[in-house]
């Protein structure tokens, strides 16, 4: 066999072996409870007195200490989680933080008047699993599909993620296309005009 074909075959085999090694831990596509779709698990904690505190809307000190250990922002309030139609979900609580975005500089917005009503954003998900409570951090996609339409007044989710939340990356992509065009001019354009 020629050396190039041998090298190509060996590299394909190595990559295949690597993907088989990795395939055990990759989450399934479209799995609604995987890390990029709902949330990534942070830690577990025993559910002794904490459950009663959470039901009344008070965050217990042991939970705050553990969250502070991870280095993520501290929550300010806890509520019972609600489903898509607004029904109460058993055994799930949401913890909120205030993101401090420059949101309310203009007088009128959809969320009420300005600096008295700061925006609260749900950040942590606390789920009861048998005797322990698992604490997850919500994936960014959850904010995009629950509040994106209210925050940007655009019905199409793909457009507002591309052009608003991650607009700078789209500028980079447009610049890549522009660079490809100018490279074609640099490498291929001939002197003189096109034939008449």
């Amino acid at each position: 066999m020629k050396p190039l074909s041998a090298v190509a075959l060996i590299s394909v085999l190595i990559l295949g072996a690597l993907f088989i090694y990795v395939a055990e831990d990759i989450p399934d596509f479209g799995d609604p409870h995987s890390a990029p779709n709902r949330g990534v698990k942070l830690f577990s904690i025993d559910a002794d007195e904490i459950e009663a505190d959470l039901n009344q809307g008070v965050i217990p000190a042991s939970l705050m200490d553990k969250i502070e250990e991870t280095g993520l922002p501290l929550p300010i309030k806890v509520e019972e989680a609600r489903g898509l139609e607004g029904e109460l979900l058993e055994g799930e609580w949401d913890a909120f933080i205030i993101p401090l975005e420059k949101y309310y500089a203009l007088p009128t917005t959809r969320f009420g008047t300005a600096p008295d009503a700061p925006k609260e954003q749900k950040y942590y998900l606390i789920m009861k699993d048998g005797d322990t409570l698992d604490v997850y951090r919500y994936a960014p996609v959850v904010r995009y599909w629950e509040e994106g339409e209210h925050e940007t007044e655009v019905p199409n989710m793909v457009t507002y993620i591309l052009a608003d939340y991650r607009g700078f990356d789209t500028l980079g992509e447009a610049t890549v296309i522009f660079t490809a065009g100018v490279s074609v001019i640099l490498l291929l354009r001939r002197r003189g005009k096109m034939p008449k």
Binding site: K102, T108, V158, A163
Partner: protein
């Protein structure tokens, strides 16, 4: 002139249908760009559809006629204009709020009285810019490749 007449007489069907279709393709492309906010579409997709109408013109009528219709200088200027619009809108957000807002924070451009609607309008402007650039770049690439191919064929014919 006589060469043009021969093309027209050879490919009557293609030429006539292209002349009818090209304005509608361009109208559809503008629809896709502007309605990217409420349905599938957006700047990249609409720009490619717009460029495909120019490519259709080139394929049917030949490089000479297409070169007369779409001059190189205008194409090059359009390539810059689209991305200028995008980067310029971002810079405008900083300047018009006197340094309070960040880059590409469309909410602070005072087009309407509502924060969220300003964001939607900013997104529309940006998508139009992307559409212009993508159209100009695809036209440029295609025209340059065809031109080089024609030059190579001419050079092959000469020593014969």
């Amino acid at each position: 002139m006589s060469e043009e007449k021969r093309i027209y007489e050879r490919d009557v069907i293609t030429a006539t249908i292209s002349r009818l279709m090209i304005p509608f393709i361009q109208l559809f492309a503008l629809y896709v760009i502007i309605h990217g906010a409420s349905g599938p579409g957006g700047g990249f997709q609409g720009g490619v559809i717009f460029a495909s109408s120019f490519v259709l013109y080139l394929v049917v009528f030949g490089l000479a006629a297409a070169g007369k219709r779409f001059p190189e200088g205008a194409n090059t200027a359009l390539m810059s204009t689209g991305v200028y619009l995008y980067a310029g809108v971002g810079l405008l957000c900083i300047l018009i709020s006197l340094g309070v807002a960040e880059y590409l924070n469309y909410g602070f451009i005072p087009l309407t009285h509502m924060f969220e609607e300003n964001r939607a309008l900013g997104m529309d402007l940006v998508e139009i810019g992307i559409g212009i650039t993508v159209m100009a770049v695809i036209t440029e690439i295609f025209f340059n490749l065809v031109w080089k191919k024609e030059e190579e064929e001419k050079e092959k014919e000469e020593p014969r």
